[in-house]
C-alpha cells in the first residue's frame, strides 16, 4: 500500500493531484466523484462581477492551447452563497483562487473569502496590477513582496502564491513571496502568447494575446518549479503542461510537493483519476512506500562524464 498523502504547510492532502484554477468547476462533478482529488481549486474570483474578455477566447496551437478568458466572475457574494456550500459536500479541502486589481482590493477579497469551508487561498498574482501600469504583481520581487504582506495580514488561512512565468526573476520572485508570507508557491501560470490567422491576418484571440498552456508549457514550468524549490523553504505545487504520469513524477522529482492539472482535463475530463492511479502504480513498481520519498529527489550534482554523449560541434 503506497502512501500518496502530502502535506502543504500543514494542510493534509490525500494525494498530490489537484486541478489548476480555471480548468475546474462544480460541473465536473457530473463526470466523476470529486472526492478522489487531493484538493479542489476554484476558478479565480474577483470582488465584483466581471464579464471576461471578448470571444474568441481560445485557440489551439501545435498540441497546446492559447486562452484569453479574462477571469469572468460572479463576485465574492455569489461565491460564498452558492459555491462554498457545494464543496461542503466533499471531504477534499477547498482552495479558493482570488485576484484583485490593486493590493488593497486583493487584501479585502482575501479577508472576505476567509470563511468556514475554505481550507486555503490561492492568490493569482499573475494578473495585471492596475497600480503598476498593468504589469502582473509576480513579474517583480518588490510588488510580489508588497502584495503578499498585505494578503498575509488579511487572513489566517494558508496562502498559496501562484507565480507567473512572464518574469526573468523566478527565484527572486519566489523568495519575495515567501518573505511576504506565502505558505506555498504554485508554479506557474500561463505564458503570454499570440497566434495569428494568416488568411484573415487577424489575431486568433479576441483579446489579441493570451496565455499558453498544455504540453508546450511543461519544460518551462518544470524549470521554474525546480528553481523555486531550491530558492525557498516552502512547498512548491507544480503546474504547467501535465498530461501523463511521467509528467507528474518529473515535477515531484524536481521538488514539487504536489501538482495541478489544467488543460489536460479539457482533453480528458477524467485524467486526474488516471494520474492518481498511475502514480500509485509507478511508486509501487519502484518499491517506494510513500510519494514523499520522491519529492525533491532530483540528482543535480555534477554530471558523470560517462553519460555525456553529445559531442561539441566541429
Amino acid at each position: 500500500m503506497v502512501d500518496l498523502s502530502v502535506d502543504i504547510s500543514g494542510l493534509k492532502l490525500k494525494n498530490p493531484i489537484m486541478p489548476a484554477s480555471g480548468t475546474f468547476s462544480e460541473d465536473l462533478a457530473e463526470v466523476f466523484d470529486l472526492d478522489r482529488l487531493g484538493a479542489h481549486v476554484t476558478k479565480t474570483i474577483t470582488r465584483g462581477w466581471r464579464d471576461g474578455n471578448p470571444t474568441p477566447r481560445v485557440c489551439e496551437v501545435n498540441g497546446s492551447m492559447l486562452n484569453s478568458i479574462g477571469i469572468p466572475s460572479k463576485g465574492v457574494g455569489a461565491f460564498i452563497e452558492k459555491v462554498v456550500p457545494f464543496y461542503a459536500h466533499y471531504e477534499t479541502p477547498l482552495v479558493v483562487s482570488i485576484s484583485g486589481n490593486t493590493a488593497d482590493e486583493f487584501a479585502t477579497l482575501c479577508s472576505e473569502v476567509s470563511v468556514p469551508g475554505v481550507a486555503a487561498i490561492e492568490v493569482n498574482i499573475s494578473c495585471p496590477n492596475i497600480e503598476e501600469d498593468g504589469k502582473a504583481f509576480a513579474i517583480r520581487p518588490s510588488s510580489t513582496h508588497d502584495v503578499m504582506r498585505k494578503l498575509r495580514a488579511a487572513t489566517d488561512l494558508p496562502l498559496w502564491a501562484k507565480l507567473t512565468p512572464n518574469t526573468g526573476e523566478t527565484s527572486e520572485v519566489a523568495r519575495a513571496a515567501e518573505e511576504g508570507g506565502a505558505d506555498a508557491l504554485v508554479v506557474a501560470n500561463t505564458i503570454l502568447s499570440m497566434a495569428i490567422d494568416i488568411n484573415t491576418r487577424r489575431p486568433k484571440l479576441g483579446n489579441l494575446m493570451g496565455g499558453l498552456s498544455g504540453p508546450s508549457l511543461k519544460p518551462i514550468a518544470l524549470r521554474m518549479a525546480y528553481q523555486c524549490a531550491r530558492a525557498t523553504k516552502i512547498p512548491v505545487i507544480g503546474c504547467g503542461g501535465i498530461s501523463t504520469v511521467e509528467d507528474v513524477i518529473e515535477y515531484l522529482i524536481a521538488g514539487a510537493s504536489a501538482v495541478q492539472v489544467g488543460t489536460a482535463t479539457f482533453i480528458h475530463p477524467t485524467i486526474m483519476l488516471s494520474l492518481i492511479d498511475g502514480l500509485e502504480d509507478w511508486l509501487s513498481n519502484q518499491g517506494l512506500s510513500s510519494v514523499k520519498d520522491l519529492i525533491g529527489s532530483v540528482i543535480d550534482g555534477e554530471q558523470d562524464e560517462s553519460v555525456v554523449f553529445m559531442e561539441a560541434a566541429p
Binding site: 480555471g22 480548468t23 475546474f24 468547476s25 462544480e26 460541473d27 465536473l28 462533478a29 457530473e30 463526470v31 466523476f32 476558478k43 464579464d51 471576461g52 470571444t55 474568441p56 477566447r57 481560445v58 485557440c59 489551439e60 496551437v61 501545435n62 498540441g63 497546446s64 492551447m65 486562452n67 478568458i69 469572468p72 456550500p85 457545494f86 459536500h89 466533499y90 498544455g214 488543460t263 482535463t265 479539457f266 482533453i267 480528458h268 475530463p269 477524467t270
Partner: protein, 272 residues
C-alpha cells in the same frame, strides 16, 4: 442545495460502425454505443469528440458535435458532419472498427411545450443535423411538423427523406432554384402561420434565419428555440470559452453555449 450531483456525462472510446459520405459535402459517422449512454441522449444535445491525429494534423482540443441520431434499440450514435477543418478532416479518416473517444451527452436539449402542437423546423445545410432528433421526438409526442430545409443546391438538401418518414411536411428551398432568399422564406412561414400550422419555431446555425424568425415571432407572438454553436475547450462548463451574449429583460448576459445551451430561447439569442 441539492445533494452531490450524479454522473451524467461519460468519457469513453466508441467503435466506428461506418463513416460514409452522404453527398458531396457531408458524411455520416455511426458509432456503436452502450445502451445506458444512448438512453440519456436528448435532441439538441452534443458530444465532445477527441478527433484522431491524421494526415500530419494534430487537432488538440475536442470538437463539439450535435447528435444527429441516437438509437438505443440499435446501439447506435450518429453524427452528420461537413469536412471543414483539421478536426473534421481527421474524423473523415475513421473506418470500421476504429475507436473514437467521446465525452457526453452534454448540454441542454430542445424542449417541446405541451401547447406547441404544430412545430416548424427551419434550417440550412448541416444545421438540419441538429434538428433531426427533434423531429423524431416530435413524432413520438404526436405533434405536427413542418420542416423547411434550405441548401445551396437540391443535391445538398439534407434529411428530407428522414423528415418525411416521420410524417413531416417538408418544404425545400434552394439557391439554385432561387427559392431560398429571405423574402420567400418569410412568405412560406407567414403562409404556415395563416394556416394555423406554427405554434413554435426551431432553428440552428444561420444568423439571417434567426433574425427573420425573431421578427416573425415577435410579430405574431410565436416562441421558439435555437441551437447555437461556439468554439469550445472543455465542453462541460469549466473554462468559459464558449460564452455568447443574450438579452434577458433589459440587460445583456453572457451564457456558456456548452452548459446553459446549446439550445436557447430564440428571442433571447443575439444575432451575430
Amino acid at each position: 442545495m441539492d445533494d452531490v450531483p450524479s454522473i451524467k456525462a461519460f468519457e469513453l472510446p466508441l467503435s466506428v460502425k461506418s463513416n460514409e459520405p452522404v453527398n458531396g459535402e457531408y458524411r455520416l459517422l455511426v458509432l456503436a454505443a452502450p445502451h445506458d449512454i444512448l438512453k440519456r441522449c436528448r435532441a439538441g444535445q452534443f458530444f465532445h469528440l477527441l478527433c484522431p491525429q491524421a494526415g500530419g494534423e494534430t487537432p488538440y482540443l475536442r470538437r463539439p458535435m450535435s447528435i444527429y441520431g441516437f438509437y438505443p434499440e440499435k446501439g447506435e450514435l450518429h453524427f452528420l458532419y461537413k469536412v471543414t477543418g483539421a478536426g473534421t478532416r481527421a474524423l473523415a479518416t475513421l473506418s470500421l472498427g476504429d475507436r473514437l473517444n467521446v465525452l457526453g451527452p452534454l448540454g441542454e436539449p430542445f424542449t417541446i411545450a405541451d401547447d406547441w402542437q404544430d412545430l416548424v423546423l427551419v434550417a440550412r445545410g448541416v444545421g438540419l443535423a441538429t434538428l433531426a432528433p427533434l423531429a423524431l421526438e416530435a413524432n413520438r409526442l404526436g405533434r405536427r411538423l413542418t420542416a423547411i430545409c434550405s441548401a445551396r443546391h437540391p443535391d445538398y438538401l439534407m434529411s428530407t427523406d428522414y423528415f418525411e418518414s416521420l410524417g413531416a411536411d417538408v418544404i425545400t428551398l434552394t439557391d439554385a432554384e432561387g427559392t431560398s432568399d429571405l423574402d420567400n422564406l418569410e412568405k412560406v412561414i407567414e403562409g404556415l402561420i395563416a394556416a394555423g400550422r406554427a405554434d413554435a419555431f426551431y432553428t440552428c446555425g444561420s444568423n439571417r434565419m434567426l433574425r427573420l424568425l425573431q421578427t416573425i415571432g415577435e410579430r405574431h407572438g410565436i416562441p421558439g428555440q435555437i441551437a447555437l454553436e461556439q468554439q469550445m475547450a472543455c465542453g462541460i462548463g469549466m473554462c468559459h470559452c464558449c460564452v455568447r451574449p443574450f438579452t434577458r429583460g433589459n440587460r445583456q448576459v453572457h451564457l456558456r453555449v456548452c452548459r446553459e445551451g446549446p439550445v436557447f430561447d430564440m428571442m433571447e439569442a443575439i444575432a451575430w
